[in-house]
């Protein structure tokens, strides 16, 4: 069995997923901008996918956004996390020559279309994807959700006003 240790140093707060050989890997000791992932594998190479996820990628993002807005009393009790249209994606095949293999991933400053991370390792790495993206679809969804929240708030305000008057 070969071990792959991935340490990630992040510049930004992204919700992200690490997938090695088709299985999600979770960090045991979550910290804000540093994470360590450990995987054991039989093979000589590990296929690594590391990418960000936004709640606005969900199919029913609009319904969830409006419902959450209402149950948090119009956002009063909502978490203060600004949604971002930025995302990153990293895919690589890493050779595992040793019993214990270390890979260090360091985030680089954001730039649309630019490399998202610098990877340091003694292992041979064949990168297929390594980029930051300003996702226009995500941007549209975020704006749509904001608009619907506003309409929901306006509708409830009108209903309350009518109830008070009547």
């Amino acid at each position: 069995m070969k071990k792959l240790n991935i340490s990630v140093s992040s510049l930004y707060d992204f919700d992200s997923v690490v997938i090695v050989n088709g299985k999600e890997v979770r960090t045991k000791d979550p910290k804000k901008r540093k994470a360590e992932y450990t995987v054991e594998t039989d093979g000589e190479t590990a296929s690594v996918a590391f990418f960000s996820i936004s709640p606005f990628q969900s199919k029913f993002y609009l319904i969830y956004a409006v419902l959450y807005f209402i149950i948090t009393v119009f956002g009063i009790f909502a978490e203060r996390k600004k949604p971002s249209e930025r995302r990153f994606s990293y895919r690589a095949d890493i050779e595992l020559p040793y019993d214990e293999n270390d890979v260090k991933i360091e985030f680089l400053p954001f730039g649309d279309g630019k490399r998202f991370c610098a990877v340091t390792s003694a292992c041979r790495i064949n990168e297929t994807e390594n980029e930051y993206v300003l996702d226009k679809d995500l941007k549209k969804r975020i704006r749509r959700a904001k608009r619907f929240k506003f309409y929901a708030f306006a509708m409830i305000a009108v209903i309350c006003a009518l109830l008070i008057i009547l």
């Binding site: 919700d15 999600e24 979550p30 709640p55 990628q57 969900s58 009790f77 909502a78 203060r80």
Partner: protein
């Protein structure tokens, strides 16, 4: 599992974590408000005891002093004596006590806001512990409030 399924599961678990954190926020807010209510009841009871004791002490001094002046008032000090009206003293204290309750209510609102900050962030793994802690705190404070309310706190 495919990548799409992993992403879908991740989003579902993040929604659950968000909902759990929201529940915790509400639980901690309710707990803090209950504790502040209970505390205000306790403090009011203590205040009542203190001012009754003070009133009794003042009365004792005045009764002894008055009797002394009656029996030994060669200089007619009784007529000149300034008489303290106990009802006035209670009125003053009753005016102060409601103000203290308002101060405690304001304190509880501030405590509830700070509870919001406490429950706001947390990793997926850390949420469970905080939810349990918040629920236990809320339950204890509700029990404390009921006990005090039944026990006759104001």
């Amino acid at each position: 599992m495919t990548e799409k399924q992993i992403v879908s599961d991740f989003l579902a678990s993040e929604r659950k974590a968000k909902f759990a954190r929201l529940l915790l926020t509400y639980a901690v807010t309710a707990a803090v408000l209950c504790i502040m209510y209970a505390l205000s009841s306790v403090l009011t009871v203590m205040f009542v005891v203190v001012y009754y004791m003070t009133a009794i002490a003042i009365s004792a001094i005045l009764i002894v002093g008055t009797l002394g002046l009656i029996f030994f008032d060669e200089n007619h000090l009784l007529k000149k004596m300034f008489s303290v009206n106990f009802e006035n003293a209670f009125d003053i204290i009753n005016k102060i006590a409601p103000s203290i309750k308002f101060v405690l209510l304001a304190g509880s609102i501030l405590a509830a806001l700070s509870a919001l900050i406490y429950a706001k962030s947390g990793s997926r793994q850390a949420v469970k512990g905080r939810v349990i802690f918040g629920m236990v705190l809320a339950a204890l404070s509700v029990i404390a409030s009921i006990v005090l309310f039944i026990g006759g706190g104001q």
